[in-house]
Each structure stands twice: as structure tokens, then as C-alpha cells.
């Protein structure tokens, strides 16, 4: 991660173009033009990990932003307002910004606000919403719409950076991104093993290059190493937890200010073996996106990614995919984080819970907290809820 932030600092020093991007936006397009991407969400998680997100959130609220708005957004606003240093999640205004409503409309509102405040040009990619009954025919013209915007975005960036689009470079970037994701997905495949070789500590901690550096070579080496180590653990039957009893799925963004909380699970021999959130950043999940396809159609592939993002799957697909994961990863129980910041993710969560319990007989628990705002997490209450949940799992196992 350090490398990414060093690159950002270097770009500001050299005066080369920088761009803020929301997650889910095509960071690959930025690398194609040698623009240094900066992901404010990622910076916000650093503020949380450094225990300063609360201060920044409150600072944004002092400016008039509601208690109920996304805490990533408020962390970003507050960090800028307080001139936070980079190691506390502070970032500077970029050359330009790119946002998309691929994951949430918050992204659009967030960048509208910040581009207005800092007078920075903004491009918005409008990504149509795929729902439970979207037809293939619809998906086709959705895809063309996104592609046309990507072409426009190319021209827009080209004008700002005074650089021509280079097809060779875009192939190289998308291929790097693909290889990075490939390792990530392969690590997830290894997590199917009992005992599970890596826990959330590694995935939540190791995730960030997928957001910030898809397109570069170095992170591939890091991920390859991570994969090899994981493979070795599997080959030697070593689990991340010594005495694995229960395998869990955790849906949602974790509490970045309190990642150690997940340690409580160990006392019951429980381990999280799958997180849709981290998995979704292995983004080439649409089976039509083969390596051949992406190399030959880099812009199409970048567009396709935005239309097939797991984190915002429609309800029917979400249920279907959860069921598949439960089987393949041998899940005993599901924890769903009703993240008070993230309405697109929490909407449908109650249905999801109900259907997993009724149709798969999988105990599922909804917990309420927030990924960046520690004021919205009640640790004691969560522990109690988890305790009761684990009792259910224990009973289930005995039967």
C-alpha cells in the first residue's frame, strides 16, 4: 500500500495528472493514460484504521452534512477540511475526478460536492441498474451506453492530459488487471479448503491493490506470492485458525476502525472464509470475460466490469450466488452487515437473510454498524448477538 501512496506523492511533486475515482469506476482507464488514481474511499479506510475517522466525520457534520450520510464521504470531506496528512487518510484535490453510479448514487453526489468545493472537473459515468428481471436484450444496450461513455471519457481525459489514447497500453493495463484478479480469485478458490488457509485479516488487509493498482505489474507479484503462500498452507493442511469449527460468510464492508473485532469469532472456532465484498473486486467475474476477450476488447471489458459488479447484484442473482457460495465454500452461517452508511448494499439484506434461512436452512444474522463511523457500532451488543448466533450454529452442528 505504501507504494501506492508514494506514487501519489510523487505525482503531485512532478505535477503529473492525478484523478480521484470512486470504487467500481474504471481505474484501468486512468492507468491507460498514465494518470495517477486516488481512491478517496481507500483513503477513508486509512483514517478509520488510524482512529481519526470519527473526528473527520464530525468535522464534515459541522459543515452541514447529515449524520445519516455515508461515512466514507464525510471522512473524506473532514480529512480535506482538516488538511489531514496522507498517512491519516488525507488526500489533495486532483487534476480531475471520475465517478460512476455503478455501486451507489452516493458516489455521484459525493464527487459533485467535492468537485464543486475544490473546483475540479468531473466526469460521471452513468451505469444502468440491472434488476431481478432485466433481460439480455436490455443488458446489450446498457453495455453500449456504458461503452459510449467510456469513449467519451477517453476523449475527455485525452484533452485534459494532452495525451493520445494508446490501444497497446490499454491492453497491457487490462491484462495486468486481469492477472491481478486471477490470483485473487485463485486465493478464494483455496479458501474452499478445510481448514481455510486465510482469514479476513488477510483479505481485508490485502484487498487494496485491487482498488488502487489494477493495471500495474508490481501488485501482481505481491498477489502471486500471497497465492503461493496460501497454496503451501493448503498443501500442508495448515489453517488460519487452529481448530476450525465453523465456516462463516460475512456480507458487507467491515468496520475499518475495529478490524480486530473479528477476533472474537476465534473463541468459538469460527472463521470467515468468504466475503462477497472482497470477492467482488476480483471483478472479471462475468464468465464471458476471458483473457482473450479482454485483450482484444479492452474498452468493452472495462465497461462490462461496471455492469457485472457483485457488490450490487440484483436480489435474485444475489440470492443465487450466495447459495452457490454456501455450497462451494461449505458455509455454516452467514453474517450480514447492515451498514448504516450503505443503503444500496443493505437494501434487500432482510430478503437475503430470510431466503437463505428458509431455502437453504443456513442460520443468518443481520448486525447493524457502520464501516467508518465508530459511533454507530455497539461492540457489546454485537458480541451478545454473535454469542447467541454461535449457540445456534453449535446446536445445528450437534444435530
Amino acid at each position: 500500500m505504501g507504494r501506492h501512496y508514494l506514487a501519489i506523492e510523487q505525482a503531485y511533486r512532478d505535477g503529473t495528472p492525478t484523478a480521484w475515482a470512486t470504487s467500481g469506476t474504471s481505474v484501468e482507464m486512468l492507468y491507460t493514460f498514465d494518470v495517477q488514481p486516488i481512491l478517496p474511499e481507500n483513503a477513508a479506510t486509512i483514517s478509520a484504521a488510524q482512529k481519526v475517522s470519527k473526528k473527520y466525520i464530525e468535522s464534515a457534520e459541522d459543515l452541514g452534512f447529515s449524520y445519516d450520510l455515508c461515512s466514507y464521504f464525510k471522512t473524506n470531506v473532514g480529512a480535506m477540511q482538516n488538511n489531514a496528512p496522507i498517512d491519516l487518510g488525507g488526500i489533495k484535490p486532483p487534476t480531475f475526478m471520475v465517478a460512476a453510479d455503478v455501486i451507489c448514487d452516493t458516489h455521484v453526489k459525493w464527487f459533485q460536492v467535492q468537485s464543486q468545493r475544490y473546483k475540479v472537473p468531473l466526469y460521471i459515468i452513468d451505469v444502468p441498474h440491472v434488476t431481478s428481471n432485466t433481460t439480455n436484450k436490455q443488458k446489450e444496450y446498457y453495455q453500449s451506453y456504458v461503452e459510449e461513455q467510456m469513449l467519451e471519457l477517453m476523449d475527455w481525459i485525452s484533452e485534459i492530459t494532452k495525451k493520445e489514447y494508446n490501444e497497446e497500453k490499454s491492453r497491457e493495463v487490462i491484462t495486468n488487471s486481469y492477472e491481478l484478479s486471477e490470483y485473487w480469485i485463485k486465493i478464494f478458490e483455496l479458501r474452499k479448503t478445510i481448514p481455510c488457509p486465510v482469514s479476513t485479516k488477510d483479505t481485508f488487509g490485502g484487498l487494496f491493490p485491487l482498488f488502487t493498482m489494477p493495471g500495474l505489474k508490481e501488485p501482481i507479484r505481491v498477489f502471486k506470492k500471497m497465492y503461493q503462500e496460501t497454496k503451501e498452507r493448503v498443501d500442508n493442511g495448515i489453517g488460519a485458525l487452529e481448530n476450525e469449527q465453523f465456516r462463516l460468510l460475512f456480507e458487507g464492508i467491515p468496520f475499518w476502525y475495529n478490524l480486530k473485532f473479528f477476533g472474537v469469532l476465534e473463541q468459538w472456532g469460527a472463521i470467515i472464509v468468504f466475503e462477497p465484498y472482497t470477492y467482488s473486486f476480483g471483478k472479471f467475474l462475468d464468465p464471458t470475460m476471458t483473457k482473450d476477450y479482454i485483450i482484444n476488447n479492452p474498452i468493452k471489458a472495462m465497461s462490462k466490469i461496471m455492469l457485472s459488479f457483485w457488490y450490487i447484484y440484483d436480489l435474485e442473482t444475489r440470492v443465487k450466488e450466495f447459495k452457490r457460495v454456501i455450497k462451494e465454500w461449505k458455509i455454516d452461517g452467514v453474517i450480514l452487515h447492515n451498514n448504516l452508511s450503505c443503503r444500496p448494499n443493505s437494501c434487500g439484506m432482510y430478503d437475503l437473510k430470510q431466503r437463505l434461512m428458509e431455502e437453504e436452512g443456513i442460520p443468518s444474522l443481520v448486525i447493524e454498524a457502520d464501516m467508518n463511523d465508530p459511533r454507530k457500532m455497539n461492540e457489546e451488543q454485537l458480541k451478545n448477538k454473535l454469542e447467541s448466533f454461535m449457540e445456534i450454529l453449535q446446536k445445528n452442528k450437534k444435530q
Partner: protein, 353 residues
């Protein structure tokens, strides 16, 4: 009896004319602030928009029998994601999610036309109706007539002859009823208004305001504002000015004309760029010489909550008194707003008409 299509639209981007041309009555679904939300609470987490939740509850309670299908139109995260919940729990054979675009440029227009064509195709397939250009233009002429009348009638608010709340009820009805009846009623209403004598301001204590915010579909909230001494002379709401501000321009390609109409309406907070919304409000505020702007926002309405500091600062810059209030979607909660509104009225006391 003609069947209806119910549609949920937090802004106003649903093409009523397409449904009319398929011999269906477009019926905009509004919330009902008197109902209990027990069932919707089972599907939607507690901190999601109360208005969208309320509409869902109406669906769960069962809508009128003559409603034969549902369209939900893209606007914000809450309404978008709740589409799938409607789809799972409110049984209808016809469901369409209309991806009204976020932007208003050429690429978006092309996409919107494609999505409208798909909706046309699905309506035809499902209801066995042929939507011809001729029928579309008949519908367009009818809604254009309605818009012209509404525009004329709306001006009577400014003449002290029509209450803002009365006008709100009229326009709300226009969204829900057979458009032929709407046309007839509006003509009658206009006749009555035309013979009324314009009144000089007799009651100097009334404060002239512009009303803005999220969707405001409970006429009672306007009545409540009036009871506190505010006179709503204009607005930039979808149950208001955004419905009739523009006409559908006729060029020979009806679907394109409808798409164009929606993308050229005054901007809303769920769109990009949304800063034009302030400019539009400012123009109206100046035109109607209002003393202040009241922005009423549904609880947890993110698009508006993001706009608040920008609105606040922009109105301050132009010296226009402005109040932003988040409200619950329950009638008995309206009076909780009274202290702030009374204080706002005090501020307006010193502002010239």
C-alpha cells in the same frame, strides 16, 4: 374499464404518454402518511428513505384492482434497490425498471430512447396493444394541453386567488386520473378562476415563499405551511412546476420527443449536474418575488442531504432567506416543524414583498 399502470417515480421521468398510447391509464403511486409501515419494515432497513418505504407498504397492502402492472423509475439508491423488493413481494405480471439516465447529454438521450423503446415493446407484448406514432401523438397533444392549462392555473397562486395547497391537490390528481377527465376538470377550474377578481394583498402577515425539496406528495403538509402563515406562490417540485414547465416538442419522432422532454425539464437533485437546480429555483424566486425558500426533505433522503450545504451557502450568497427541514412521513409529526418554521417566519418579517 381501462386498466392502469402504477408507477413509482421519485423525480418525474416516467413517460405517461407511452402508457396512454397503449390504452392504459398512468397512475402515479404516492405515499400515504396515515398507514402503518409494519410490513415494509420487514424488508427495508430502518434508515432508508421513508417515502419510498411508504410506497412499498402501499404496494404490500394491495393497490387498486384496476392496476395491472408496475413501473419503477431510476432516481436514487433507495428507490432503485427497492424495485427488487417490489418485484419479489408485490405480485404483478408486468414489471419494468426504467433506467432514466443520470445525465442529459446526447449519449444519455440515445440510451433513454432505447429504454423507452424497450418499455414500448414490453407494454405491447404484455397488453396486446399496438402503440402507434399516431396514438403517441394523440397522447402527447393531450398531456401538452394539460401542461398548458396547469401553467395558467399555477399563476393564480401568485395572484392570491388559488392556494398553493389547492394547486397541489389539482396536480396530484392529474398524475393519477384518466387524462381526458383531467383536461375537462382543468378547463372548468380555469373558467372559474378567470372570473375571480385579482385581490390586492389584504393579509399583510402572509409570507410569500417558494417550496422545494424532495418529493412532497402529502397536500396536508402544504396546508400546514399555509396555516402557519406562508403563502406558497411557486415551487420547483415534480408535483408542481416540473410537471408543466416544458411542453413536449413535436418533431415527428414521438419516442425521441418524449425522451427529449424529460431530459430538458428543470434539473433535479438526483441528476447530473444537479447544481442547475439552484439556478432554476433562483430564477423562480426572482420572478415571483418570494420572501424566502422552504426546502422540505423526506427523512433519509440522501440526494437532498448532500445538496444542503451547497443550497444553504448559495442562498446566503444571494441574500435569500432559506430553511432546510427534514421531515418524517407521518402527519402527526408535521407540528414538530413549527418552532423552526415560526422562527423562519420571523426572519421573513423584515423581507420586502
Amino acid at each position: 374499464m381501462a386498466y392502469k399502470i402504477g408507477y413509482v417515480d421519485p423525480s418525474f421521468n416516467t413517460p405517461e404518454e407511452l402508457m396512454m398510447a397503449a390504452n392504459l391509464i398512468p397512475y402515479r403511486i404516492f405515499g400515504d402518511p396515515t398507514i402503518d409501515l409494519m410490513d415494509a419494515d420487514k424488508f427495508v432497513p430502518p434508515n432508508h428513505c421513508f417515502w419510498a418505504r411508504n410506497c412499498l407498504q402501499r404496494g404490500l397492502n394491495g393497490l387498486d384492482k384496476d392496476i395491472k402492472g408496475i413501473i419503477i423509475t431510476h432516481a436514487c439508491d433507495c428507490s432503485n434497490r427497492e424495485y427488487d423488493i417490489w418485484y419479489s413481494h408485490v405480485p404483478y405480471d408486468f414489471y419494468y425498471f426504467l433506467n432514466a439516465p443520470l445525465k442529459r447529454d446526447k449519449i444519455s438521450l440515445k440510451f433513454f430512447i432505447n429504454d423507452l423503446k424497450e418499455l414500448k415493446f414490453q407494454l405491447e407484448e404484455h397488453f396486446g396493444a399496438e402503440i402507434t406514432d399516431k396514438k403517441l401523438y394523440e397522447a402527447i397533444n393531450l398531456t401538452n394541453e394539460i401542461r398548458k392549462l396547469l401553467k395558467k392555473i399555477s399563476e393564480y397562486r401568485n395572484k392570491g386567488l388559488l392556494l398553493g395547497s389547492e394547486f397541489h391537490a389539482i396536480i396530484k390528481n392529474a398524475y393519477k386520473s384518466d387524462k381526458k377527465d383531467v383536461l375537462h376538470n382543468l378547463k372548468e377550474k380555469l373558467k372559474k378562476l378567470e372570473i375571480k377578481e385579482p385581490l390586492p394583498y389584504v393579509d399583510g402577515s402572509k409570507k410569500r415563499i417558494l417550496l422545494t425539496g424532495s418529493i412532497l406528495d402529502d397536500t396536508e403538509i402544504l396546508i400546514y405551511l399555509e396555516s402557519l402563515g406562508f403563502e406558497i406562490v411557486t415551487d420547483d417540485l415534480c408535483i408542481g412546476t416540473r410537471y408543466f414547465h416544458n411542453l413536449i416538442e413535436i418533431t415527428g419522432d414521438p419516442i425521441k420527443d418524449i425522451a427529449n422532454f424529460h431530459l430538458s425539464k428543470p434539473p433535479y437533485s438526483t441528476e447530473h449536474p444537479s447544481s442547475g437546480r439552484f439556478d432554476f429555483i433562483k430564477t423562480l424566486a426572482e420572478k415571483y418575488q418570494v420572501q424566502g425558500v422552504i426546502c422540505l426533505v423526506q427523512k433519509f433522503c440522501e440526494p437532498l442531504l448532500y445538496e444542503y450545504p451547497f443550497f444553504r451557502d448559495s442562498f446566503k450568497k444571494i441574500g435569500m432567506p432559506f430553511i432546510f427541514l427534514e421531515k418524517e412521513y407521518k402527519r402527526d409529526s408535521y407540528k414538530q416543524l413549527s418552532t423552526k418554521l415560526e422562527a423562519f417566519k420571523e426572519i421573513l418579517r423584515g423581507v420586502k414583498k
